[in-house]
Symmetry: C2
Subunit: 346 residues, 2 copies
């Protein structure tokens, strides 16, 4: 199961179009900073550890430094950088430029991230939700570039999502726009528990955590599977392992993955009936290799089949459902793109 | 149970601000045409029968005539009408100005409604979905006038909804934006059947039809209720009857209405987690009298309690959930408002 890909096909400085924008994608493990030109083409990127326990002031200094370093790496003078975009995990207050209580950045509560990073790099910073930034990246230069509106689902440990309508990145009025992983698809009181503590959410059925849990339950219920031998040898039950066994023909593993696809089809139908976008894109590690593997293609086909069963016929026919293409670059490219949007407005 | 109210508090021609806009709200039974000033204040309205079986050409002629008549009624010269807005039930193709297969306008399939009405009144026409037009009316001059973004649910035979974000009326890319009555809240294969033919939709649990069906099932299951005597005397089981019995203290009737509120709370939570708007407004006959009755207030309180149980705490705290205020005028006022938006863009 290939992970999100990093792009190393850079445009040369000579061919790039000014001005330049730098995007920073802040994750729980790594910080990725990349520089793109006015058409969203990357010139360089670099990655540094987030080191959450060292705290947000220390990390802000490293993010500021990474911004300056990636400009230098690309050979771009800092005076040609129009603006920086910073995509961060939530919860957050986007207009205030502050974190609220980010689940994956323990101890960083209420930190004024936007302004601290700005001070450390000496450039104006646009603050964004990481999932929304990734969605904007796909919209700007990825597989959403022909869309007027789209939703990106990032399938991983959790289910992230971002909504773009025209040039509008849907932050929402309280910085909670596009939390489509947390729409309720099963209102029952005994519905599955989500990582957020609520029940019946799309994420509770389709995240990596959910796939492991559902597989474990099926094994505990006595379903036979080639997984059992691996686990008895001390192997860890992960979506990657389930995917490998599915690819090797294990019926249970394949059932689990196709069931995941059908749950996603329900969530995608809800988003289509609410927003009616041009396209729905799927990114993240839980796309099982995407278009590059048979399993990935079968997974997508099953999602589409469920949408066809569930959605208005005209929407099922006309709405594009496909894999995202920017992989691990979507976050920094999109953050840079949102910085560009703000730059153009000023 | 009061029905949607009509406003007869008109602004005088002397106090009105030019230019004027006329909105037409096309329903399955009646056509309502009203004239408003540049601030959305009504000067006059009138209503004529839709007479669906006479066909769309005949109705287009009557809509064109109604536009001219309502201007005359208000004493406004036609040269001061900037544009007409037409809100129609779907399905439709908004950019093309055409109906597709509207369920409530049998025999009108694929009719070019916008251009035919325009020809009959001699004025440019903006075409809109009726639920979106009503949402825009509440956003412009109703209980949503302080919001930047909002969703209106119209609770009736079906569950209509419209989404407004800034000045954007979310038509969607295939004229199916804001069909929030058709989001799946129960993915189970034995979930309730919706009027649209699919299962598990919000509408399948909360529409007038669903309330009747759920009440009937409870009675058939042997629950005692003061409804039984009424029905034995030949009374018809309607949401109005259920509401009357709830107001008179019948526990079953009250349970049904409060359960409806909790289902709505699930759907509203989904919309909040997707769009994060400033407010959610509830209109239509199935608001049980709204703020004017104890039952209406209890209904709203139960919706809010379910949202508080289900939604992110910050959203449950900050998102306004309230009744709409324009009643039966929202449609024509909003259609006129959307015409004004298009007029201002040109």
């Amino acid at each position: 199961m290939p992970m999100a890909r990093d792009n190393n096909n850079f445009i040369s400085l000579e061919r790039a179009k000014k001005p330049f924008f730098i995007g920073v994608d802040l994750g729980g493990t790594n910080i990725k900073a990349g520089i793109v030109d006015d058409l969203g083409r990357p010139l360089a990127w670099l990655s540094v550890p987030t080191d959450v326990p060292k705290g947000p002031e220390d990390a802000s200094a490293r993010m500021g430094k990474a911004v300056l370093q990636v400009a230098e790496k690309a050979g771009v003078d800092i005076s040609n950088i129009a603006r920086v975009g910073l995509g961060s995990p939530g919860t957050m207050d986007i207009p205030a430029g502050k974190l609220l209580k980010p689940a994956n950045l323990k101890g960083w509560d209420y930190f004024p991230l936007r302004d601290r990073v700005s001070q450390h790099c000496g450039l104006p910073v646009t603050f964004a939700n990481d999932a929304n930034a990734a969605a904007y990246g796909e919209f700007w230069v990825g597989s959403g570039r022909d869309f007027h509106s789209m939703v990106l689902f990032t399938l991983g440990t959790g289910i992230g999502s971002g909504i773009i309508i025209g040039e509008l990145c849907l932050d929402g009025e309280h910085s909670h726009g596009g939390e489509c992983g947390h729409i309720i698809i099963n209102f029952s009181p005994d519905a599955r528990l989500c990582g957020c503590g609520q029940r019946g959410h799309l994420e509770a059925y389709t995240s990596a955590t959910a796939v492991v849990k559902r597989t474990r339950e099926a094994l505990d219920a006595g379903r036979s599977s080639s997984l059992t031998a691996d686990l008895n040898r001390g192997g860890e039950l992960t979506p990657k392992l389930v995917a490998e066994h599915a690819e090797n023909g294990d019926p249970l593993s394949l059932d689990i993955i196709m069931e995941t696809a059908r749950y996603l089809g329900v969530g995608i139908t809800n988003v289509m009936h609410t927003l009616d976008p041009n396209g729905i894109l799927l990114g993240g590690a839980m796309t099982f290799g995407g278009n590059e593997t048979q399993l990935g293609r079968d997974f997508l086909a099953e999602i589409k089949a469920e949408v066809k069963r569930r959605a208005y016929a005209i929407l099922a026919e006309k709405t594009v459902i496909d894999f995202a293409t920017l992989g691990g670059d979507a976050g920094y490219i999109g953050a840079a793109g949102l910085a560009r949007l703000e730059f153009l407005k000023k």
